[in-house]
């Protein structure tokens, strides 16, 4: 087996006095789809945000695609990464946000072409072709010239997915992408992800509260609590025969609800 595409080694992360991770270790293999479930405040989103470089770390190392994410080699030792290194590392990663974070002053098409044109120097024509292709993929070919505020939540999130894909990341981070949606809009977004992983292979890390979706799509499910992985394994095993009491309690509470 090749080296993992993502590796957390002894990672420490605090917000002020609150310790999120004290000594966190975690690996993801290439083309693996990993769901992270668990109670809120357990550090699930922080994990993704650290990978996307939206949050720094207070200790330990993270490797992404064979290189250190938050550190870089300099004169024979590892020093905190500068913005150039972070810029390079971010090219591996793409993120879809819970609250979409679309650019409200830009058309849907422009939301998608902005980064390829500015960051990768793709020509306008090529960027627009790519945007149209991605919009067709997420079923919004007719919305290219609409503005985000004219779209439903589900449509916004599908644009969010298309926007992230336009940068062709090898690792896709999905941060509770359906949590802000009305229940009837959840499936149209999840269907996009279902189709996506059918067509192409991705390394995907998703934080989700949609248990049936995690069970269906993942290669591995991790149950998170208090900044640590309490239990992980194949979805069928986690969802049907969890070993840990905390996992059982969490899943019971969820299944009891729905």
């Amino acid at each position: 087996m090749s080296a993992p595409i993502i590796e957390f080694k002894n990672v420490k992360k605090c917000f002020g006095d609150t310790v999120i991770f004290s000594d966190f270790n975690f690996k993801v293999e290439e083309n693996e789809i990993v769901s992270i479930i668990g109670p809120s405040g357990s550090g699930k989103s922080t994990l993704l945000r650290i990978l996307m470089t939206l949050e720094g770390i207070d200790g330990g190392y993270i490797n992404v695609a064979g290189e250190s994410l938050w550190h870089m080699p300099w004169q024979g030792q590892y020093v905190p990464a500068n913005s150039k290194h972070l810029h390079k590392m971010r090219n591996h990663l793409g993120m879809v946000f819970q609250h979409f974070n679309l650019f409200p002053h830009m058309t849907v098409k422009r939301n998608i072409t902005e980064a390829p044109m500015r960051v990768k120097g793709v020509s306008r024509q090529d960027a627009e072709e790519l945007a149209e292709k991605l919009l067709a993929l997420v079923g919004l070919a007719d919305k290219a010239d609409s503005y985000p505020n004219d779209l439903s939540g589900g449509q916004k999130q599908r644009v969010g997915i298309a926007r992230a894909l336009a940068m062709k990341p090898s690792i896709l981070l999905l941060d509770e992408i359906t949590s802000a949606l009305d229940p009837e809009l959840v499936d149209e977004v999840l269907d996009v992800i279902r189709n996506l992983v059918k067509e192409e292979s991705f390394t995907m890390l998703l934080v989700t509260h949609e248990m049936y979706f995690a069970r269906e799509i993942s290669d591995r499910v991790c149950f998170f609590d208090k900044g640590a992985i309490v239990e992980e394994g194949e979805p069928e095993i986690i969802f049907t025969a969890p070993k840990e009491e905390r996992t059982k309690a969490f899943l019971n509470a969820y299944i009891g609800q729905s």
């Binding site: 996307m52 939206l54 409200p104 058309t107 500015r118």
Partner: protein, 225 residues
Amino acid sequence: MNGFDWDWAFTWDVLPMILSAAKVTLLATLLGSIFAIIMGLVFALLRRSKSRLTRTSVYWIVEFIRSTPLLVQIFFLYYVMPEFGISMSPLATGVFALGLHYGAYLSEVFRSGIDGIEKGQWEASRALNLSIIDTYRDIVLPQAIRPMIPATGNYIIAMFKETPQLSAITLLEMLQMAKIIGSENFRYLEPFTLVGLLYLVFSIVAAYGIYQIEKRFPKEGFSLK
């Protein structure tokens, strides 16, 4: 002089001179505003710099400029700077002083406008790997400008009304012209009234113009092609 005797012939005589001085006033305001907007933006962006030293120094520079009278700054630039080998015409000094002074005020307007942009917009920009320049130019500023328009407009009108201070460094703007006309003809009523009226007219027109700009400005901001 007994009572109120308005001399229409004299009024028409002096009006062209006052209007030509009004051009100087308007020019100083226009150039001053452009300079103030640029300086305000520079101050506001530097106040968000990663370096604490830059942030703190700019904070104190802005605080210093805002807490000292405009007239002192004008005098300093006009009478003291030549001792350091920097001498400028009254108009250039005026534009520089107005721009710097109001730039300091505008930086606060711009700063709060930028702070008003949701955190999610910054995070999405970073996740898409946009550079900090691209993020400001394409994402943050286009959305931040509309809420900044009213306060910026008010400061520009305030600056316009402070241009008479430039008469102190011999700039021949409206008020200075009216004073000269008055002392030459021993009649102050008409020139000063005209100047007051012109200030009123220009201010009202400018306020209306700013309101129109704000109204027509797209709510979400605009995007560059």
